[in-house]
């Protein structure tokens, strides 16, 4: 009874999150990050021997490198505060999670501090990313076997 009452009071008192505003902000920030990524991909396609398919790897690496620099200089958290999910969902958010965790635990030493805590936040991304990729590949393999779609 007490718990329900608390939940009700908490619901009444806490301010309503501005969902629409947050969604628009996330759209703008996430879209801008992806636009920058698209420009980097075009740069690799135009000036190096990468095709649209192969350009994605160096593009991802470059985006993570930029996010790493921004995290180190303390600028990425400002972007993330404004953009919310728009800054967390692209690959730059993953880079930010890895780098900020390793900066935080640097004082505990390089092996047990940085090495042990680097994937504290990003570990779940890797785990569920690999798992969902496995599930999707399994479904696609089955569909290809039955001739519903082709590779």
């Amino acid at each position: 009874m007490q718990q329900e009452k608390y939940a009700q009071i908490e619901k009444e008192l806490s301010p309503k999150p501005p969902i629409m505003k947050n969604v628009i902000k996330a759209f703008l920030i996430g879209g801008s990050i992806c636009l920058i990524g698209q420009f980097i991909a075009l740069f690799y396609i135009t000036y190096f021997d990468f095709t649209e398919r192969t350009a994605s790897n160096p593009t991802v690496a470059t985006m993570i490198f930029i996010a790493m620099l921004l995290t180190g200089f303390g600028l990425y958290k400002k972007i993330a505060q404004f953009g919310g999910a728009g800054a967390a969902v692209p690959i730059t958010g993953f880079g930010n999670a890895v780098v900020s965790a390793s900066i935080e635990h640097k004082s505990e030493g390089y092996v047990l501090g940085v090495g042990g805590n680097m994937f504290k936040l990003a570990g779940s991304v890797i785990l569920f990313g690999v798992f969902s990729a496995f599930v999707v590949a399994l479904i696609k393999t089955i569909l290809v076997k039955f001739g519903v779609v082709s590779w």
């Binding site: 396609i45 135009t46 021997d49 990468f50 095709t51 649209e52 398919r53 192969t54 350009a55 790897n57």
Partner: protein, 130 residues
Amino acid sequence: MKKLSIILLILGLLTGCSEKGTYIKNTTPYDEHSVENVLMSNEHVKLAKVLLYEDELLAGIRVNTFSRFKKKAIANKIQKKLEREYPDLKVTVSADSKILLETEKLINKKSEKNYRKKIDKIKSIEKEQT
């Protein structure tokens, strides 16, 4: 100044995508009209640059924006059609913008000196998977 730069940016972005049609450079005795027919008969193709050189037929195509999801299938279909039309030529068709870009560079080149080398290079990067 700021307004002007925004207007210029928008104009640049809009005009960047307006190139259309089929451009063919033929250095062989083969007839290139059926290439044009095959490419123009496909409603998904927006822009195509084709180069015929010795025993090679290199075609870079750009598909309409919403057909991009199946651009590989479109390119394969066109490749099969062209292979039927030109059984003596080695046909390479790709919807990748890199192939389009490189084919365009080759077409605009004045001398045909390095064509063989460049075509082999384009074909090898087209095959790369990762």
